[in-house]
């Protein structure tokens, strides 16, 4: 409740758990997006690069690294991170054809698992899987064996999907974060998208409330009244507090609910 934005009736406090994840995600982002750096070399030399499985037994990994892995792993709670990271496609010298998400919302490996298992191009970059032919890109996919008929249908399907994205010859691949206009990672946006998972409707009431010309303690009490958060007798008894009676302290006729007391 208190962590919600003010427009929705909250107090806009940081949820430190989410904020910690957002801060950790920044390391993850720097790890994939930055070209060089001494710290990155060290981390890569110890733990390997990208999504490759770490060779070091878990016990010898630092706590920082273990948290980092946990926070951003694709299948668990860390899926949000993978969702936000995208590719700005250039000549595809970095994007891996099957494994990375560069065409639509999920990787080809997940969309076409059957074809993936047949492919001889596993782990290869997009660039390596075709060539420019008179300014037109031609795919050169290699397979372990001839496809069955139903598998060739899958292949056609995939080629149609592939034709929807365009390749640019000159530009280099780069990572993007979030939606199109904001390419750069920020802890704030990471936090926002963590919080965004499950959000209600906006209410004009609370926007106005926090702008009201009154002292903060007064506004806060009003906020508690508006969100039915004041310990009225009726609310206390609902929460299991034993009371002699729940009648309104002011008029002694009806139960002292939020509604009754202020309206």
């Amino acid at each position: 409740m208190v962590c919600k934005p003010r427009e929705e009736g909250g107090l806009r406090l940081r949820n430190i758990q989410n904020f910690n994840i957002a801060l950790l995600a920044k390391w993850k982002w720097r790890l994939i997006a930055e070209e060089k750096g001494r710290w990155k070399e060290m981390v890569v030399s110890k733990y390997g690069q990208g999504s490759e499985v770490s060779r070091i037994p878990v016990k010898l990994q630092s706590w920082w690294w273990r948290d980092l892995v946990k926070v951003c792993e694709p299948d668990g709670d860390g899926g949000w991170f993978q969702k936000e990271v995208g590719w700005k496609l250039g000549c595809r010298d970095k994007v891996r054809f099957w494994e990375d998400i560069w065409n639509g919302n999920s990787s080809l490996k997940i969309l076409f698992p059957r074809l993936y298992s047949l492919s001889l191009n596993q782990g290869q970059k997009v660039e390596e899987m075709g060539r420019w032919d008179d300014g037109v890109w031609r795919w050169n996919l290699r397979w372990r064996r001839a496809r069955f008929e139903w598998e060739s249908k899958l292949e056609e399907e995939m080629l149609i999907l592939l034709s929807t994205t365009r390749l640019h010859r000159e530009e280099k691949d780069d990572h993007t974060w979030g939606n199109e206009d904001e390419r750069c990672f920020s802890v704030n946006s990471a936090y926002a998208c963590l919080v965004n998972q499950g959000r209600g409707t906006h209410l004009e009431v609370f926007k106005l409330l926090w702008k009201a010309k009154a002292f903060p303690n007064v506004v806060t009490t009003a906020w508690r009244a508006l969100t039915d958060n004041l310990p009225t007798r009726e609310r206390q008894s609902r929460k299991g507090v034993m009371l002699n009676n729940t009648l309104c302290a002011l008029c002694q006729t009806t139960a002292e609910s939020n509604q009754h007391l202020f309206m």
């Binding site: 009431v205 007064v218 302290a249 939020n258």
Partner: protein, 128 residues
């Protein structure tokens, strides 16, 4: 005289008589007729003056919060300190609360408490 957005008024069976009288005092103070709505959020929204601008309406919203706060304070007074129930007192405390804010936080506001109590509308319309 100021006019407010008219609203349909569901019958307030469940309302506290004391709170109602505080609110009606508040409306009389500003010289307006306003239907009380049962839902607290809608009530807050409908607490709106048409003749004054957005910023001045925020002062009016501030009055609303002060009234709510005073009611709650009085209720605590009664429950914990054997206080006496007095609608008049609740209302006056709310008046003072809102005036104190204007006095201390607004540079352009030069009215005294008596002015604020006797002629609140001109105080609000002069608020910048």
């Amino acid at each position: 005289m100021l006019y407010v957005r008219p609203r349909l008024n569901p019958i307030n069976i469940s309302s506290c008589k004391l709170a109602l009288s505080v609110w009606s005092m508040c409306f009389r103070w500003f010289g307006i007729v306003l239907a009380q709505h049962n839902d607290i959020k809608i009530n807050f929204e409908s607490f709106h003056l048409f003749q004054v601008n957005y910023k001045q309406n925020l002062v009016w919203k501030g009055v609303w919060t002060s009234v709510v706060r005073s009611i709650w304070d009085q209720r605590n007074e009664v429950v914990f300190k054997q206080g006496v129930v007095d609608a008049e007192e609740i209302f006056q405390k709310a008046q003072i609360k809102s005036w104190l804010w204007l006095k201390h936080k607004s540079n352009s506001f030069t009215y005294s408490l008596v002015d604020w109590i006797l002629n609140p509308t001109s105080c609000i319309t002069s608020f910048k």
